[in-house]
Amino acid sequence: MIDVIVLTMPFLLEGLWMTFQISSITILCGSALGFVVGMLRTLGGWPISATLGIYIHALRGTPFLVHLYVIYFVLPSTGISWLQLEAFPAAVIALSLYTSTYVAEIVRGAIEAVPRGQAEAARSTGMTALQSMWHVVLPQALKLMIPPMGGVYVIIIKGTSIVSVIGIAELVRAGEHATLRHPRELMLIYGMTALMYFAYCYPVLRIARWAETRFGSVRLSS
């Protein structure tokens, strides 16, 4: 048993590194996109808000697995050259789009959780709508966004397990390969894989919970 752990560990760690890369890039891209969507949804007029609402519902209403297949298999068949995506960019784009819906809802919830009086007071001192958003509302809203973001990052990390279907050698894929080499030690290898995810996700959840007691939080509509 020890020798199987020693033999498979390097492969699993390589997979973990890939999982880490995908999740980090997605955390950056997904948060940025989600922030833009959430801001537009609160600031824009109703046509923008309604369009983005459809975007969010369409992505929330379908499984991530379907997004991944649509981006990896359906988009290339449109024949447009820049939509012929390799596995890695397809995975990152699909995960980022999925993440952006969660982040957008958090951003909107946090902005709406800042009392109206704050924005009204800022406007009455002569600030424009953008100035009041930038100098008064956003700094307060940002603090509220930190705790639920921890939950979203865990969703991303867990979501990376699904991109193994399009052939990316991340942690689950590495585990599957290891089980092919040591078919008797299935339980051990999948247990090790699960432990690695745990070691990655649990600290994030703990930090999120700490941030929640420190900064307060907004309710997330799931």
């Binding site: 209403g61 379908t62 697995l65 979501g159 999948y190 995810y197 309710r219």
Partner: protein
């Protein structure tokens, strides 16, 4: 109209309607059984989590943490591939059983947190008020605590059920036929990813829409949604 047929040949989809209907009904059945399982696990988990016994609440808390910090796919693999033959059953779990148990265990952790939050949201004064008018424990539960807890819990439970329905697509990885599997069938038989996965996406959206309408109705009806 040619460009539509080129991108989405609905005539092919019509040929596969039986597969998609079977897929939808399989998805709904799998979700329903997993939902019942998860509600049972969630209720037991919530009661254990609120118990004063440190062994009980630590087990429940550890279970929730373990489920929340690992991906569902790994949970499915562990339960389906790694389980040895069960002593009572005399055989290993088949795909469907493994998938449903994994989904139920996964959703159960989230359900237990929702149920616990719902019960804890009932203020102490409500119970004390009921006690002071002479209600027994069962009466207090029946007329005071549970109706309020129920109203608080149903909207997030419906949200989690929507997540469960989407997550059930992952059991196609271990070879269970459901809605996503129907899409995979079209892909493998006709090599038509557009027809396969756009249809699957549309079916999931319809299910989601029904869930959303139901959730809005429940919120209005119960009036307990203090979001």
């Amino acid at each position: 109209m040619d460009w539509i047929v080129e991108f989405y040949n609905w005539r092919v989809v019509i040929q596969f309607i039986p597969e998609f209907v079977d897929g939808i009904s399989a998805t709904l059945w799998i979700s329903l059984i997993s939902l019942i399982l998860s509600l049972i696990i969630g209720t037991i988990g919530a009661i254990m989590r609120m118990s004063a016994n440190p062994v009980l609440w630590r087990i429940a808390a550890g279970y929730v943490q373990a489920i929340r910090s690992t991906p569902l796919l790994i949970q499915i693999y562990v339960i389906y591939f790694s389980m040895p033959a069960l002593p009572l059953l005399g055989r290993r779990l088949d795909e469907l059983e493994g998938g449903i148990i994994a989904l139920g265990l996964n959703a159960g952790a989230y359900m237990s947190e929702i149920i616990r939050a719902g019960i804890e949201s009932i203020s102490r004064g409500q119970v004390e008020g009921a006690q002071s008018v002479g209600m027994t424990y069962l009466q207090r539960m029946r007329y005071v605590v549970l109706p309020q807890a129920f109203a608080n819990v149903v909207p997030p439970l419906l949200g989690q059920t929507a997540v469960l329905i989407k997550d059930s697509s992952l059991v196609s990885f271990i070879g269970v036929f459901e809605l996503f599997g129907a899409g995979l069938t079209v892909l493998s038989e006709r090599l038509m990813p557009n027809e396969a996965f756009m249809t699957v996406a549309a079916c999931y959206l319809v299910i989601y829409g029904v869930m959303l309408a139901f959730s809005n109705f429940a919120q209005r009806k119960l009036g307990g949604a203090r979001t």
